[in-house]
């Protein structure tokens, strides 16, 4: 089940909210756990057991790490090996076997395994949990219900943000439920839903149109690249907004995952603003244990390369994702060597540099393989003898101009700042107060109805991060 679907919006969610607020405090986690299992089973019935096995091993080994300190390293290693083993088998085994066969020419059996939904997210949560228990930063969870609920919690189960146990340890037992928090959650959820359905899905249609273009041109290639860049942001950040909003409705405060990454003026800054929960996960559980930057320079850069190759691989079992990660690492290293001070001298130059590199990176990210990625990038810069402009590309530019404009504005903090200004004026300005108080719910309702119209019409609606 995906958030942007009629069964979720008009059947599952209202039923869960009703049940959740109907039961007393201690039973709320049970309701959330059962709801999460139904949510997961709806999309992946056969792999629900696998998720429960992963939760159970994390729970048992976490408790053993906490209670048998002499053997804690062994239990930690066992848990991490199980988690990575399961992730490796389901996500990477086929890829590595194919790559091995391609490199050596040795025929190996083809392994076709369906990737369980959300496996990359929940295995990382289990790993971070047992490591945190081992490090002593958190105590092992004694309640299996709470542990299972934390890992499987449907708002963040299939596409993050990667909520670490330490982020919500206290909230698992006691959390605040208030009208203000529920309203905040509703706002955030509807905004995320609108970002996904009204912007990302529409740009997805443009990307599809590029794939079947009859008159390719340089303009169309650039439209495609810009559409990919904006679609990935609106798809993924929209999903994170929905997850954070749902969390708020149920009393949780999930970590933010995006902070307007497209205003960045360097790749370093971009990665402080993009998929922050993944970035900090790799920093805390891979980069720093490898020695971080407190090692010799060559080792430092090697650490960066390792972390970014793994980050790329986390996104997908294909070489273009590895190249995408290493591409990011290359520019991060260049910035650490000499570029960062230069970029700080000119905000405009820094922004143009960052956006151009990000644009190319998402072409690599979105491509079916490296050959396709290379082909698109070459065409962006005039290779292939394409016409500069075609009637078809002009048509799509005109047709998507407003969507592009909304997407560009929506990826900047302008709107947020505007509303923050209005909020500040509310207590002192009666007119602003009335307009805002009445207008905001109406705008949210209008967005919900508009999104529903798009969903009922059965338009294009995949989730890009659904199988990560």
């Amino acid at each position: 089940m995906i958030f942007s679907s009629i069964p979720f919006l008009y059947y599952f969610l209202p039923a869960v909210i009703l049940l959740y607020f109907a039961v007393p405090g201690k039973k709320k986690n049970v309701v959330l756990l059962l709801a999460s299992l139904v949510f997961y089973a709806w999309g992946e019935l056969r792999y629900t057991l696998l998720m429960l096995v992963m939760i159970t091993q994390g729970y048992i080994l976490g408790r053993l790490i906490d209670s048998k300190r002499r053997w804690s390293k062994f239990f930690l290693t066992t848990s991490v090996v199980i988690s990575l083993g399961v992730l490796g088998y389901f996500k990477y085994a086929g890829f590595f076997l194919e790559s091995f066969a391609a490199v050596t020419g040795i025929a190996v059996p083809v392994l076709k395994v369906t990737l369980p939904i959300g496996i990359s997210f929940y295995t990382f949560q289990v790993i971070s949990y047992v490591i945190d228990v081992y490090r002593g930063t958190v105590a092992a969870q004694k309640s299996y219900i709470d542990m299972a609920m934390y890992i499987s919690m449907f708002p963040q189960l299939i596409a993050g943000p990667i909520v670490r146990y330490s982020d919500i340890e206290g909230q698992l037992r006691t959390r605040e439920h208030s009208a203000q928090k529920v309203a905040q959650g509703i706002r955030r959820f509807i905004i995320g839903l609108s970002k996904k359905v009204l912007i990302a899905n529409q740009l997805g249609e443009l990307i599809d149109a590029y794939g079947s273009a009859s008159e390719p041109s340089v303009l169309f290639v650039w439209l495609y690249a810009v559409a990919c860049t904006l679609q990935i942001y609106f798809d993924f950040s929209g999903y994170s907004d929905m997850a954070i909003g749902l969390g708020k409705i149920f009393g949780f405060d999930f970590p933010e995952n995006f902070n307007y990454p497209y205003i960045s003026k360097s790749i370093t800054e971009f990665w402080r603003r993009w998929h922050m929960s993944l970035g900090t996960w790799f920093r805390d559980y891979v980069y720093i244990p490898l020695g971080g930057n407190r090692v010799k320079k060559w080792r430092w850069f090697l650490n960066i390369l390792i972390v970014w190759a793994l980050t790329g691989l986390w996104h997908g079992a294909a070489w273009n994702f590895v190249v995408w990660g290493l591409y990011m690492a290359f520019f991060l290293i260049l910035e650490k060597l000499f570029l960062l001070p230069l970029l700080k001298k000119s905000r405009v130059l820094g922004h143009v540099y960052t956006m151009l590199l990000v644009l190319i990176s998402f072409v690599i990210f979105s491509a079916a393989n490296m050959a396709d990625a290379g082909n698109v990038i070459a065409k962006m810069f005039g290779a292939g003898g394409l016409a500069a402009v075609s009637g078809e590309s002009l048509y799509y530019l005109r047709s998507y101009a407003v969507t592009f404009l909304i997407a560009v504005f929506g990826s900047l903090p302008v709107v947020r700042n505007l509303f923050a200004g209005l909020e500040r004026k509310m207590p002192e300005n009666r007119v602003v107060n009335v307009i805002y108080t009445v207008g905001e719910p109406l705008v949210l309702a209008a967005l919900l109805i508009l999104v529903t119209g798009y969903l009922v019409d059965g338009s294009f609606n995949p989730f890009l991060y659904f199988r990560f």
Binding site: Q180, A183, L198, G391, V402, E440, P441, L442, V456, D457
Partner: protein, 368 residues
Amino acid sequence: MRKYINKNTIVIFVAALCIYGLSLWGIIKPDESYSYSERRGLKAFPKLSVQTLQSGRFMEDFEKYTLDQFPMRDTMRMVKAVGNYYLFGRKDNNGLYLVDGYLSKLEYPLSEKSLEYAAECFTLLYEKYLEGNVNAVYGVIVPDKNYFLAAVNGYPSLDYDRFYSILEDKLDFMDFIDVRDLLSIDDYYRTDTHWRQEKIVDVAEKIADAMGVSLTGEYTKKQLDTPFHGVYYGQAALPIAAETLYYLENDAIKNSTVYDYESGKTGAVYDMEKAAGNDQYETFLSGSRSLLIIDNPTATTDKELIVFRDSFGSSLTPLLIEAYSKITIVDIRYLSPSYLGKFIDFNGQDVLFLYSTLVLNNSDTLKK
């Protein structure tokens, strides 16, 4: 602080009203089995069993069911269409666009493969049945609405000149009759793909002239009582006024009978049962039928005509009736040409191939 609480309460109330209201409405309202605007059956509640749950079929079908049975489905589709056109400035919605009150569907690029396939189908027909057996073979390619609307309004369009020349080159056994100069967008329905019968009398006359017969051009214009919503009306989901479907009658049309090989029944040229149905354009020769014979008992000639056609032929062929004693109408989308020898004696007739650019550019529906 009090003001914030009120604001939050309103947000919760409005969101709950929308979600719970539509949710309960969806659960309570009886399921519908057919969508008249979309001209299709709607999904019923899927079968729930261990097998359908395990395979994920139940979940997939349930999603389709909730989409089909959503309260105010047509209104919701209209919300999307209006949002797409007027809020996001999109030039089309699901490939449909609206210019000067005319709805049309994007049709591009030109598919040479499809034209080749169509030409191959027609050539096989010619070689198997027509060559040496019939009097003459004519071809008419009917331009779709995009011919008049697309390019001039900035929409991607077929290269129609190339389209016509490819087919004329490949089908050199046909005498092509170009009717483009007689047509304009006014000759088509606003909400449908087809041309209006009452506007194509000149087209029928030009075709008749080219085939060596003449038409009086005298018809009585009649109209259906029910409003006409064309095929694009439901697909577009936009608030567009209904149209009137007119049909032309003269003594030859009135006295002729139509034998339908599929049903084995004989009826009239204009099927008044279809006039009360979902697609009133099917009033013309009962719509999609594979093989029809029109007998004109009042004919003053013994000339016969065989028409290979798509749905554009349904409204044009009646106008030719007065010039022939018998017209055989074949739709090779529904009848394989290999069976034609069983039903038709190819012997001295005139033959007319009448196909629209829409079918020719998507010719995989034609049977060989």
